[in-house]
């Protein structure tokens, strides 16, 4: 079952006004494609919010994934952009999200109300950098492996997007010990309802991964904003 909010809207023809805050997908070269924000995003606000954090694992087990994202302005020679708030959220190794009730999935229907694991936000530094220490995501029926992002500047939503994963690496992770009960994701990137509509977009939003199951992975990506 595809979680309703992770699907593209039925009316989405690539110009859905509810999603295309910064123009249609790939309207500017290098701009991060605008993707479904999905059902399970994240909060924030006050200066002491514990969810402003680099380490979002919060007790969840999985293959470590250290993300380094660089926010760039595709309208200004890819200049780095500081002070961008980036919210991330993802499912755990079993394909469930924190904070939500009654989620169908590999372990049956699960509720994680009151939990906030695998969610967090950071503000880009002077070099436009954002770091998150997380785990390699699991997956749930109907979606390719992904991590959600929302980007805000001065409280204004500039981009909703998702990061994709190279399947040859995901397939290795998803048969490793912690993930093997669920196995390889049956939804491939090319067939995904969000990633599958544009090979160009998919290439822009696919993380550059390095590492191994035993050592963990690093993931880097430039996130382009058209400012």
């Amino acid at each position: 079952m595809v979680l309703e909010s992770c699907k593209k809207s039925s009316s989405d023809d690539g110009t859905s006004s509810s999603l295309k805050a910064s123009g249609s997908t790939s309207s500017v070269a290098g701009e991060a494609p605008t993707e479904e924000e999905g059902p399970f995003p994240y909060p924030g606000g006050e200066a002491t919010n514990p969810l402003q954090r680099i380490d979002v694992t919060d007790g969840q087990t999985g293959v470590p994934l250290a993300l380094t994202l660089t926010i760039i302005n595709v309208n200004n020679n890819k200049a780095v952009v500081p002070n961008v708030r980036v919210d991330m959220w993802q499912c755990n190794k079993d394909g469930y999200y924190s904070g939500y009730a009654n989620q169908p999935g590999a372990l049956g229907t699960q509720s994680y109300v009151g939990k906030t694991w695998l969610r967090g936000y950071q503000v880009s530094d002077a070099s436009g950098l954002i770091k998150f220490n997380t785990i390699y995501p699991g997956w749930y029926s109907g979606r390719a492996t992904h991590i959600h992002l929302e980007l805000f500047i001065n409280g204004v939503l500039k981009k909703t997007t998702q990061m994709a994963f190279t399947e040859s690496i995901s397939d290795v992770v998803h048969v490793s010990t912690l993930y093997s009960a669920h196995g390889i994701n049956t939804t491939r990137n090319a067939n995904d309802s969000v990633f599958g509509n544009s090979a160009v977009d998919l290439s822009i939003e696919t993380l550059n991964l390095a590492g191994s199951v035993s050592a963990g992975y690093t993931g880097t990506l430039n996130i382009g904003l058209a400012l």
Binding site: E4, S5, S9, S17, S18, L19, K20, A21, E37, P39, F40, P41, Y42, P43, G44, G45, E46, N49, P50, L51, S98, G99, Y100, S111, V113, G114, K115, T116, R119, E150, F152, G155, V156, L157, T160
Partner: protein, 171 residues
């Protein structure tokens, strides 16, 4: 009456007039989160209220969950004790699940922001009801024929039995 296995729920409504420190934190943080996260469902800024945003895009119902996530750390600080609710001896009543709901909000009027947290207990045994008082025991004591430790809660506004299972009567 036969004993019954129940769950209680206590609803706390928080708005601009709420006075406790906890309520103020919930109010302000959830409103800031509403301003931030409602944009995903209102990209052109055409709508001002939560009802309007939901009517335009049903996915905006996710805001109940999103705002809940934003205030989880405040709710965690309660230590699973329901605010404003005590038994007749002044002891706190524990909850297991906090259910958060955005009742109303307005991008242009913070005074219109209103949320509710419904605190749901774990399983309790309803031993008996005496006038307006529930006599309760923790856990499932339906088959316990011996003495049980009980506590008493007055039936009051915002308090409800939300799950009920009577003991099996064996003939």
């Amino acid at each position: 009456m036969a004993k019954a296995l129940i769950k209680l729920a206590y609803r706390q409504v928080i708005d601009a007039l709420s006075t406790s420190d906890f309520e103020k934190k919930i109010f302000h943080t959830s409103y800031e989160e509403f301003l931030l996260k409602s944009q995903a469902y209102n990209m052109e800024g055409k709508f001002k209220t939560f009802d309007q945003i939901k009517a335009n895009d049903g996915r905006a119902n996710s805001l109940h969950y999103k705002l809940a996530i934003a205030v989880t750390h405040f709710i965690d600080a309660l230590g699973n004790q329901i605010p404003e609710l005590e038994d007749q001896l002044g002891n706190p009543v524990k909850f297991e699940v906090p259910e958060f709901k955005l009742l109303a909000s307005d991008l242009t009027n913070k005074m219109a922001h209103e949320i509710a947290i419904t605190y749901v207990t774990g399983e309790l045994t309803l031993v008996t009801i005496i006038n307006n008082y529930l006599v309760l025991a923790c856990g499932d004591q339906r088959e316990n024929s011996g003495p049980a430790n009980t506590f008493t809660i007055k039936i009051q506004p915002n308090l409800a039995i939300v799950q009920f299972e009577e003991a099996q009567i064996i003939v």
